[in-house]
């Protein structure tokens, strides 16, 4: 695991099934329980994912969104991409070719620093961004 500014990039294990997923979730949970978690899951090592693994991804995304954050996927293999599509969850995630691109996408949205503002203040955040640029 490594961080690029406020964005956390985490590598998914080779297998993301029930047992591995549970262990992964234990590791990821503290990172999800912060304000506006911004997480990139690097899937480059992931070779095997099943429905339990997908459920875990959805759970993580839900947790991140609850706290006004987001979870993005990077470096999906063709097999993982096909599985996500088959399970109808591909459109729920933003997917990037590399973890760096995914991390930068958070900055592009002007979410460098957690503002501590309620979720409905997002337009103000965007306005600030426009003003800054």
């Amino acid at each position: 695991m490594y961080t690029t500014g406020p964005v956390v990039v985490m590598e998914l294990p080779e297998k993301l099934q029930h047992a591995e997923g549970k262990a992964f979730l234990v590791e990821l949970r503290p990172l999800l329980e912060v304000d506006r978690p911004r997480i990139v899951l690097d899937c480059s090592q992931m070779e095997n994912i099943d429905s339990a693994g997908i459920e875990i991804l959805l759970h993580c995304m839900e947790e991140a969104m609850k706290r006004d954050g987001d979870l993005k996927l990077a470096a999906l293999s063709p097999a993982s991409a096909a599985i996500l599509e088959l399970m109808r969850v591909d459109r729920l995630f933003e997917v990037f070719a590399t973890a760096e691109e995914a991390a930068q996408s958070f900055h592009a949205l002007g979410l460098e620093e957690p503002q501590g503002l309620p979720w409905y203040s997002a337009p103000h955040g965007l306005a600030n961004l426009k003003a800054a640029s």
Partner: protein
């Protein structure tokens, strides 16, 4: 003047280069594409029927031993068709041509079962006879096809493989303008399905066209809440559950089940496949628990039987599938993949569910 035909299944030597299946296809299927049901009938069966209709005196199917399970359903189906499972296809081909010659069959077609063509076979034969060549090879705009007419008597005197190879070099070729599909890659299967469903070739789905472009085969059950958008094909004994959507040139072959809420779009679900609930199968082929995404060009073995599985009596996973295939030479281990259709209702359908 006698005329015979030899269909070769599973040849992968140089001369039948186009018959060599692609790697992803091998991972998906335990048998050649020619033996796989497409719109209710295999290409091999379609080709046999074409030869029978052309009044060819004797038709022989030569099958490489490792693909014998694919032709088991053919045994005893046709009166003048014999099926031989052989270890060496080329020596068997040579023997068969000699046998034809002894039976006063002077000319024979030699064709890879993977080649689906709608050319006028008799016209090809007359062309060969007038050209007075030992062998004439068919070709289309994409190049030579694994389709020849040969002189049986002359073929038995020399090396058959060399003879077939020489045909093209000697300029003894017959240009085919009609529909051809080489069935080498999964994309070819999809192309054949869409061409047949849209009338771009003469192949017609089995069963009945219940609405323009929607073909339903005997014993298929379609829930009232399912939606089928033309063109599409639902095979014999298949079940389409509630809230499913079958659309854009999709074919669900025999004895499949598409479970609730699933979308099948521009895809082929091969025989005996159960597709689980709430999935989206797009631009893909599914065979048992093997899933080939044409978009991502990847074959995936689905280990979760709730998502996708085979409905064959003998489970056919990747490993099991291959071992089942190898063992299939022993007749007792072969599960008949084509049970005789029961005199059951033609198909069951709720009202107002098909959108033509």
């Amino acid at each position: 003047m006698g005329l015979g035909a030899i269909l070769v299944v599973g040849a992968e030597r140089e001369i039948f280069s186009s018959a060599a299946p692609q790697t992803d296809l091998k991972a998906l299927l335990a048998q050649p594409l020619a033996c796989v049901d497409i719109l209710g009938r295999s290409v091999l069966e379609s080709m046999i029927e074409r030869f029978v209709r052309a009044n060819v005196e004797a038709v022989t199917v030569l099958v490489a031993a490792e693909h014998s399970c694919g032709v088991e359903p053919l045994r005893g189906t046709y009166e003048h068709v014999s099926v031989r499972v052989v270890d060496d296809l080329f020596s068997a081909l040579s023997e068969q041509l000699s046998d034809y010659s002894r039976r006063s069959i002077e000319h024979s077609f030699v064709v890879s079962a993977s080649v689906y063509t709608e050319t006028d076979l008799l016209d090809l034969f007359y062309f060969h006879r007038e050209a007075r060549q030992v062998a004439t090879r068919g070709l289309d705009r994409d190049g030579p096809l694994d389709l020849w007419v040969v002189d049986c008597a002359q073929a038995q005197q020399g090396d058959v493989e060399g003879l077939l190879a020489q045909a093209e070099k000697a300029g003894a070729t017959y240009f085919i303008r009609e529909y051809v599909n080489r069935l080498l890659q999964p994309q070819d299967l999809r192309r054949l399905v869409s061409d047949a469903l849209s009338g771009r070739c003469a192949m017609r789905p089995c069963g009945r066209e219940v609405k323009p472009g929607i073909w339903i085969d005997t014993g298929a059950e379609i829930d009232r809440g399912a939606r089928i958008v033309a063109p599409a094909y639902i095979g014999r004994g298949s079940k389409i559950q509630e809230d499913t959507l079958i659309t854009r040139f999709s074919n669900i072959e025999r004895d499949c089940c598409v479970d609730c809420g699933t979308v099948i779009e521009d895809s082929s679900i091969l025989a005996n496949t159960h597709v689980g609930i709430w999935l989206e199968v797009r631009h893909a082929l599914a065979n048992g628990n093997m899933f080939l995404s044409l978009e991502h060009e990847v074959v995936i073995e689905i280990s979760d039987p709730g998502v996708m599985r085979s409905t064959r009596p003998v489970q056919q996973g990747t490993k099991d599938g291959w071992s089942w295939n190898r063992k299939a030479r022993e007749p007792q281990t072969v599960a008949d993949p084509k049970p005789k259709p029961s005199p059951a209702p033609e198909w069951q359908l709720g009202a107002d569910l098909i959108q033509g």
